[in-house]
């Protein structure tokens, strides 16, 4: 090996160690795709559940529907069956997405020789959780205040901020996904009532697109 080659090798190693020791790069693109698909199924279920609710017998629910969509007057839904079902669907989606992503990420981490629970993944988790938890509590308060129209924009915006905030600790690409989620959330806030539509795009479609891009960029070799 010539000196030149040795120095080049040294630089390569330095760069890889700097990245490996400070960033968690084993997020799997496939987990993005699965999360997206599960979110789309969830959105379809929620849409179906809402339709079923508004179609029920009396037709007196039309006023409720229009105020729900246009948020003219707060709908007094409280913790009704409908809200309970919608929250249950959301929790189900979250659960499946987290389990599937964790499984796939463990697999990718093993392949990369990176340990799943080290300093870098802890930093990633903490920095992701701070905006997510605040956004989650904020969304629950919105439900409690009967401001349903704000739930979707709030969750999209805070999720986007969580991604932007944690992009320092993982693949830089999630920063762009974060900005896209925030923009969608703001658009949704400007057209309240289309929450399910924006949710399906933000948590469904964008995750699938992101997952496919990441898969081709980093995993398929």
């Amino acid at each position: 090996m010539t000196d030149q080659e040795k120095h080049l090798q040294d630089l390569k190693e330095i760069r890889s160690l700097m990245e490996k020791s400070s960033k968690f790069v084993s997020l799997s693109g496939l987990s993005g795709i699965i999360t997206g698909v599960v979110a789309l199924i969830g959105a379809a279920l929620a849409y179906y559940r809402l339709q079923q609710h508004w179609m029920q017998s009396d037709g007196g629910r039309f006023a409720e529907y229009s105020s729900f969509v246009h948020n003219t007057i707060p709908v007094q839904l409280g913790w009704s069956n409908l809200v309970f079902d919608l929250v249950a669907i959301a929790c189900g989606v979250l659960f499946v997405a987290v389990v599937a992503s964790t499984y796939l990420t463990v697999k990718t981490a093993k392949k990369n020789g990176q340990s799943m629970w080290d300093k870098s993944s802890q930093l990633l988790a903490v920095n992701m959780m701070i905006p997510l938890a605040i956004g989650g509590v904020f969304a629950l308060i919105m439900i409690k205040q009967d401001l349903f129209g704000l739930v979707a924009p709030v969750t999209l915006i805070f999720y986007g901020l969580a991604l932007i905030n944690s992009s320092k600790y993982t693949l830089h690409d999630i920063r762009y996904l974060g900005f896209a989620e925030v923009i969608l959330g703001l658009m949704n806030a400007a057209s309240i009532g289309y929450g399910i539509f924006y949710w399906a795009i933000g948590f469904g479609l964008l995750h699938i697109i992101y997952g496919v891009l990441m898969y081709f960029k980093y995993e398929r070799k």
Binding site: L11, I14, L17, M18, S21, S22
Partner: protein, 97 residues
């Protein structure tokens, strides 16, 4: 050419030392076990290279006890950071030249 080579720091000639400095430059503090895992080296090997860097005052070694277990963490000093960055610049110049 000779002028540039003179800028390469002898203290970083070893692979493991380069590795230690790389990790310390992007992390505030790093524990012994984590460093071992990242560099994939033996205890003794790591300890001897760390103490060489400590002698140059490039690395700060902090020993403390977590419960009853000794816990050693490493930090890069200002001097070490400067020295390593100069070394990297020299390496890059050498490759370009």
């Amino acid at each position: 050419m000779k002028g540039i080579i003179a800028h390469l720091n002898k203290a970083f000639e070893n692979r493991i030392r380069l590795g230690i400095m790389s990790v310390l430059l992007v992390n505030d503090t790093v524990e012994f076990n984590r460093m071992k895992e990242l560099l994939d080296v033996s205890d003794g090997n790591l300890a001897s290279h760390i103490s060489a860097l400590e002698k140059e005052e490039y690395v700060l070694v902090q020993k403390q006890f977590v419960g009853k277990k000794p816990n050693t963490t490493y930090k890069v000093t200002k001097l070490g950071k400067k020295a390593f960055e100069d070394h990297l610049t020299a390496l890059e110049k050498l490759l370009k030249g």
